[in-house]
Symmetry: C2
Subunit: 294 residues, 2 copies
């Protein structure tokens, strides 16, 4: 059956069946606005929107459930970047009316799975017709403790730079099934003073200079130390992108104890890859001679 | 100049120049999440997302500033529907890289104008490339007093039904320049017990049955009383849609005093158009013999 045969009202009703809600949802999908419990007095409100577009962020023949997972996981990864707690999601779906209903149902299964994994309630959905590529836009709101959220801009000269997991080669499939590092980020912010943090979506070679620029510092990168996925070169670890790992900066004297406590707590790899420097003009993360073609 | 010639980072920087922010914004566009002040303890959090698609919600040759206004005004109208106060907006822009930069600049002018008009800060922006129709998706968050937000579902048998402004004919141009009835809705909720309210986006003939269904009641509509725009038939007032006027229900004994006080306070027309009834099976708002072709 095609989307056109069921109609938007019935489609939405079907998609929103079994969506994850929680006790914070006062009025979810179906009214003009979603009405939910606000953050507590001790928290700040966090907002993020992100979209995935067919042909750019996923191939036309990609598994729809994996596409749904990715569409939800990308903005969730931004919550990890600021050490925030995601709570509510709104989903906008732009598809051709000739799309198979089963594709949309699978997409929602993936969206729901990623939302549930992190306690997020889907509180609104919208679908619109398009003749263009399928697009899924997800907005997430949540909260972080006032004194604990982490920006990109607090890095200081001398700070040790760490990266979680391994980099490179995500296009082989990991870009569709990565796990946002929310739990790890919240643990980090709870136990250590994280000066600056971000998630790696465009590749360390692009993202590290952004963190340095936001912090008004430079950096030194130990290219040989980069944790790489199997079969990946240093160049790939720097440039492939879509790793969705955490990059963060802490005071250098925190470095050893952080590594030690991390290894007791998390199976995920954590690697010190360099440091922030005073010299704000040295911000090229790519090895000399490497040319970025995109 | 085309969007492709400037690049996404510079484009975003340019678009986000002069965007309206306010003292509630702690960290706006540029970091992984926007970080903003939460609602107060006495408020609830409101969330809404909506999008406009070229060829569906606006014509390809429509003025870009008007398209921007509409893209922001549509979700703002949903805040009016619940008597909420909008505060923060996130904007997702899907355009072909061959789009003229001037078009995008004008679009943002319209987005900014509508946001500023209602004290809304734009706290995040995203652009993505598409080969399909131009699409602008706007998510707005805000707040409403815990005891004062209005849903669609509180209508009671006997309630008087009111509609603001005039209906029909929006396609002639009003659909691109309507003013969300936020100020009026907040005044209503402050001074009267509004049982149920919604904004009219799909036309009274479609939206009134939705309100009745959500409230578990039926309705009687005085077709002759419908406030129509110049040159519009009753059928058009019921079916054209995109009026973005308020439809609301109050206890019948509130009706006269509400009308009197409204007329002292607002120049906008307010008309009693019917009532809610016990009989939940009578929910066709269209005059007998009328066939809805879409």
């Amino acid at each position: 059956m095609k989307v056109a045969e069921i109609g938007e009202d019935r489609l939405l009703a079907r998609l929103l069946r079994n969506i994850p809600v929680n006790r914070l949802v006062i009025s979810g999908a179906g009214d003009d606005c979603a009405v939910v419990a606000p953050p507590t007095e001790r928290e700040l409100l966090l907002l993020k929107t992100d979209c995935v577009v067919e042909g750019i962020h996923f191939a036309s023949d990609a598994d729809a459930a994996a596409v749904g997972w990715k569409a939800m996981a990308r903005p969730l990864s931004d919550f990890a970047a600021v050490a925030g707690r995601p709570r509510f999601a709104l989903v906008t779906l732009l598809i051709d009316r000739a799309t198979e209903l089963s594709w949309v149902t699978k997409l929602y299964r993936g969206l729901r799975r990623a939302a549930s994994r992190f306690g997020v309630a889907i509180v609104g959905g919208e679908t619109s017709n398009t003749t263009g590529p399928k697009t899924i836009s997800v907005t997430i709101t949540g909260a972080a403790e006032r004194e604990r959220w982490v920006s990109r801009s607090g890095g200081k000269p001398g700070d040790a730079l760490f990266v979680t997991g391994r980099l490179g080669g995500a296009i082989g499939g990991r870009h569709l099934r990565f796990v946002p590092r929310i739990d790890e980020a919240r643990w980090l912010a709870e136990h250590f003073e994280i000066h600056a943090m971000m998630d790696l979506s465009d590749g360390l070679g692009t993202d590290l200079p952004r963190l340095a620029r936001a912090s008004g510092v430079g950096f030194e990168l130990n290219h040989e130390a980069l944790p790489r996925n199997r079969g990946c070169t240093i160049e790939q670890a720097l440039s492939d992108g879509e790793d969705y790992e955490l990059l963060f900066a802490v005071a250098p004297d925190t470095s050893d104890v952080l590594l030690r406590r991390w290894r007791k707590r998390w199976p995920l790899k954590l690697t010190r890859i360099g440091q922030l420097t005073k010299n704000a003009t040295r911000r090229n993360a790519l090895p000399s001679g490497y040319v970025h073609f995109t």
